[in-house]
């Protein structure tokens, strides 16, 4: 009986092998595939955000983590917790740890510049995300902030540039040294300087994008200029406070609020609830994909680090109440 069983197994195995052999003859090996996956084994990508727990950083991180998991390399987040000194410390220790790629979100245009230069000298590819320093590294993925400013200013001109008296505009910027403040102001100027029909009455910083600060500034300025026409806001999360001030003053319908952000669920909620009427999204899912592409390019790059530099400005998407029906806003659950 045992003999019979052995014979049967052998026969079955032989049949299986035969079939496999037949199939192999009909297919081909992808010559790139093995080397591609092999190259990624044991590699490491570290993300140093300004702060986790925001729709932007959580979104980017989820997209990066997913690719790392699928392709089998390490991915890690080192949160600098809104503390520039802690972020610099993290970068310093990463320079000696030598991961393959550092993805960094800069708190301002200066603080990390020297460290990023040192990291590249140490052979680490550095990709700057959305907020860049004035030193160019292997890659930059992020919004063309000046263009966001221009788009917002154009919306303000359309609303406020028609009456006889100049339309009054309030600018709520971010932290003074942040690229988002400096470049966005440049964008506003590009449009508004040629437009005598619009008058910037106040430019104020919301500190570290504080919504309560945005609210109190808006309240004070509204008191001074009850005929305010538009507010150019810096970021959706901050402008929740701006909108709250307008709502309390009963001026939601009078004042146009423009803002920008990653296009998360807050973007659509704000439009639906009339918190803002013009929204420029830098599209986190799109940025995530660009970011992943640059990470892959960096890991396949055999040239000396820093010899190629790629800048990918994110295609911007504009949301208005008219386009709201499309519901393109993402949530962490819908990110794929």
């Amino acid at each position: 009986m045992k003999k019979l069983l052995k014979l049967g197994t052998a026969a079955a195995l032989a049949t299986l092998c035969g079939t496999a052999h037949l199939q192999a003859q009909a297919s081909m090996d992808d010559p790139l595939r093995d080397a591609y996956y092999e190259n990624l084994k044991g590699r490491k990508v570290v993300f140093v955000p300004v702060f986790m727990g925001l729709d932007l950083t959580e979104g980017w991180s989820k997209i990066m983590a997913r690719q790392a998991k699928e392709l089998g390399y390490d991915y890690e987040v080192r949160n600098s917790n809104f503390n520039t000194a802690a972020g610099a410390q993290t970068l310093t220790s990463l320079i000696s740890e030598k991961p393959d790629v550092i993805v960094v979100q800069n708190p301002d245009v200066q603080s990390y510049a020297k460290l990023l230069q040192r990291a590249e000298k140490a052979g680490i590819h550095v990709i700057q995300l959305n907020m860049k320093t004035n030193y160019q590294t292997t890659g930059f993925v992020g919004a063309d902030v000046e263009l966001i400013g221009e788009k917002q200013a154009e919306a303000a001109v359309e609303k406020c540039g028609h009456s006889e008296t100049p339309g009054k505009v309030l600018v709520l910027a971010g932290p003074p040294t942040s690229p988002f403040s400096a470049y966005m102001l440049k964008g506003y100027e590009n449009i508004l300087n040629d437009n005598p029909k619009v008058n910037i009455v106040s430019v104020q910083s919301t500190g570290d994008y504080e919504s309560s600060k945005a609210k109190s500034i808006t309240q004070v300025v509204l008191q001074q200029h009850p005929d305010l026409c538009a507010i150019l806001g810096v970021w959706d999360n901050t402008d929740v406070g701006t909108a709250a001030a307008l709502k309390e003053a009963g001026k939601t319908d009078q004042v146009l609020v423009t803002t920008s952000g990653g296009g998360g669920e807050l973007a659509c909620k704000g439009l639906r609830e009339n918190m803002w009427q013009y929204y420029v999204s830098y599209d986190v899912p799109g940025q995530g994909r660009d970011l992943n592409a640059l990470i892959m390019a960096a890991m396949q790059d055999k040239n000396p680090v820093g010899s190629t530099k790629t800048v990918l400005y994110t295609p911007l998407v504009t949301y208005t109440p008219e386009t709201l029906g499309d519901e393109r806003c993402w949530t962490l659950d819908t990110l794929r």
């Binding site: 727990g53 925001l54 949160n79 809104f82 570290d208 999360n237």
Partner: protein, 350 residues
């Protein structure tokens, strides 16, 4: 709020520790030239100056706006005052403001009901105060380190995934209680009324209850307080619980007012503003003196300065510079008027 009785009390306590400036200014009046008077004078000068040079400053609308912008800061100052009077400091107040209220918003949004959510938030605030209090009173860790560590720990709760995002938006379920931070009655914003109510409650506690008196005693001379048979440690614990609960209340007002709770504010400079309001108003960091009126004056001065600077469109950096200078001057005045003596030095004040 009767400042005279309060000040004569503080004044009497301060007389024994007069510094060079106080001695110099002793001729100014019976109660001495204490910081409250300096600051009140400063406030009046700046106020009148602004009213003359800034168009639109002296209008009912702007004054209410001014009050509204500093209402939350003032409420926090009241909580801080209770702890500082007991010769402590509570650096975890911003965490107690942000995290329990963000928890309330999160729970309410997930459908746990308004009352249970508020209950959980309040319980969390009490737990934070209890933890601070026990570590300070029983483990005898200096309040500076205790509350700093507890604050960082509490602020981290959001980051371990309790909230989806660090910025939690106000859910429509809670709209029934949104009035505490939004809107106004007879033109007076509710947030200002919240400050007034909190001031009355804290003032009553400090001046009309036995426990309030114990707070002054514990700050003025802990050793003597214990010898007199007053339960010093429980009184200290109570102070931290009060400050955490006041912070929670301020958090709900802030969240209702800006339609979201940004838990990142722990990382900002808010806590310094709170200390600024308290110290500026003349509540000495060496404990045992001052009261609600000091917080009110401190808040009004800061509110006025900031309001004027915003109207003048002064930049953010410059506003910070002004605030820093004012704090420095306040601390300097405090150390001149209430100098550290051997007793306070040995008590290991903050």
């Amino acid at each position: 709020m009767d400042d005279h009785t309060d000040n004569s009390q503080a004044g009497a306590q301060a007389t024994s520790r007069k510094g060079p400036l106080a001695a110099m200014m002793g001729v100014m009046g019976k109660g001495g030239f204490d910081q409250l008077r300096i600051v009140t004078l400063l406030f009046l000068v700046i106020f009148v100056l602004y009213a003359i040079i800034l168009p639109g400053f002296f209008s009912v609308g702007n004054l209410l706006t001014l009050m509204r912008t500093v209402a939350v800061l003032g409420i926090l100052g009241l909580g801080m005052a209770v702890v500082v009077i007991g010769r402590g400091i509570d650096l975890s107040m911003i965490a107690s403001l942000a995290v329990p209220s963000a928890l309330v918003l999160t729970l309410a949004a997930r459908g746990y009901g308004v009352v249970p959510s508020l209950g959980v938030g309040l319980m969390m605030a009490v737990a934070i105060g209890l933890l601070n209090g026990i570590l300070v009173a029983y483990a005898e860790i200096p309040s500076l380190f205790t509350t700093l560590a507890v604050g960082i720990g509490v602020a981290g709760i959001g980051q371990i995934g309790v909230f989806d995002y660090e910025i939690v938006s106000w859910p429509p379920v809670l709209d029934g209680i949104a009035w505490i931070g939004r809107g106004s009655i007879y033109g007076i914003p509710y947030s200002v009324l919240a400050f007034v109510v909190a001031a009355i409650v804290i003032d009553t506690f400090l001046r009309r209850t036995r426990l309030g008196m114990f707070c002054y005693a514990s700050g003025d001379n802990p050793g003597a307080t214990r010898l007199a048979g007053i339960p010093l440690r429980p009184v200290l614990v109570l102070q931290y619980i009060i400050s955490a609960c006041v912070a929670f209340f301020a958090g709900m007002v802030l969240a209702a007012s800006s339609a979201s709770m940004d838990t990142r504010i722990f990382n900002l400079t808010w806590i310094y503003d709170v200390i600024l309001v308290v110290v500026l108003g003349g509540i000495g960091l060496s404990g045992g003196r001052g009261g609600v009126i000091n917080v009110v004056i401190g808040t009004l001065l800061i509110g006025t300065i900031m309001n004027g600077l915003t109207i003048m469109n002064v930049s953010f950096e410059m506003q910070n510079l002004v605030r820093g200078l004012v704090l420095l001057l306040a601390v300097l005045a405090d150390s001149l008027i209430n100098p550290r003596n051997e007793e306070t030095a040995q008590q290991g004040d903050i």
